[in-house]
Symmetry: C2
Subunit: 114 residues, 2 copies
């Protein structure tokens, strides 16, 4: 089991802001799967809550990935709430899972680590 968070590298967020956005995404994925398939969250927790942060170049790539992933794995697109310098509503990340390795890997394994 793993959770993958895909971030837009073109936004050039600072380390702290980036970490806050990734945390927001991670929590959104956790809540989604906890609500729909809690046994998958339990297994992910038992295995140590593996999280991997990868990147895409921009918004278009993020949405293309989302369209593919959402047919097979639980995922959420994250928009900025307006607390940062970027315009409110800016899409910053996509979170996939926590979910089965093979299904998450299918669309994310070739993305570069952030």
């Amino acid at each position: 089991m793993k959770q993958v968070i895909v971030v837009r590298s073109d936004l050039k967020l600072g380390k702290g802001k980036l970490a806050a956005h990734v945390s927001h995404a991670s929590l959104a994925g956790y809540k989604l799967v906890k609500e729909k398939e809690p046994e998958f969250v339990d297994e992910w927790e038992r295995e140590g809550e593996k999280k991997i942060v990868v990147k895409v170049e921009g918004e278009r790539e993020l949405f293309e990935l989302y369209e593919k992933v959402k047919k097979e794995s639980p995922c959420v697109i994250i928009k900025d709430a307006g607390f940062t310098q970027i315009p409110p509503g800016t899409v910053t990340c996509l979170v996939v899972g926590p979910w089965k390795d093979e299904e998450v890997d299918k669309f994310t394994k070739d993305l570069k680590l952030l």
Copy 2:
């Protein structure tokens, strides 16, 4: 309401690893407060899940802060699970809350943003 994640700047984690550790901390704080005082989590969510990432210079500073904070606010010390280059068991962050602004601010407001 806010959640503050305090990270050790001396570990010099890369952006992606750092974001994964901060996410782990954020989720740990969420689960702790959700279990003990769920109405505080609800309020934090209604307000947009504010998260702030700050830094301290090393392990000693992190533990000193923890000793002070834990008397007043829910908080968790986060250890590395061993998935990264740093030795397993290394203490990486402290998460405080989500909790009341004034109580979180009391010990964290003077820390530098990451």
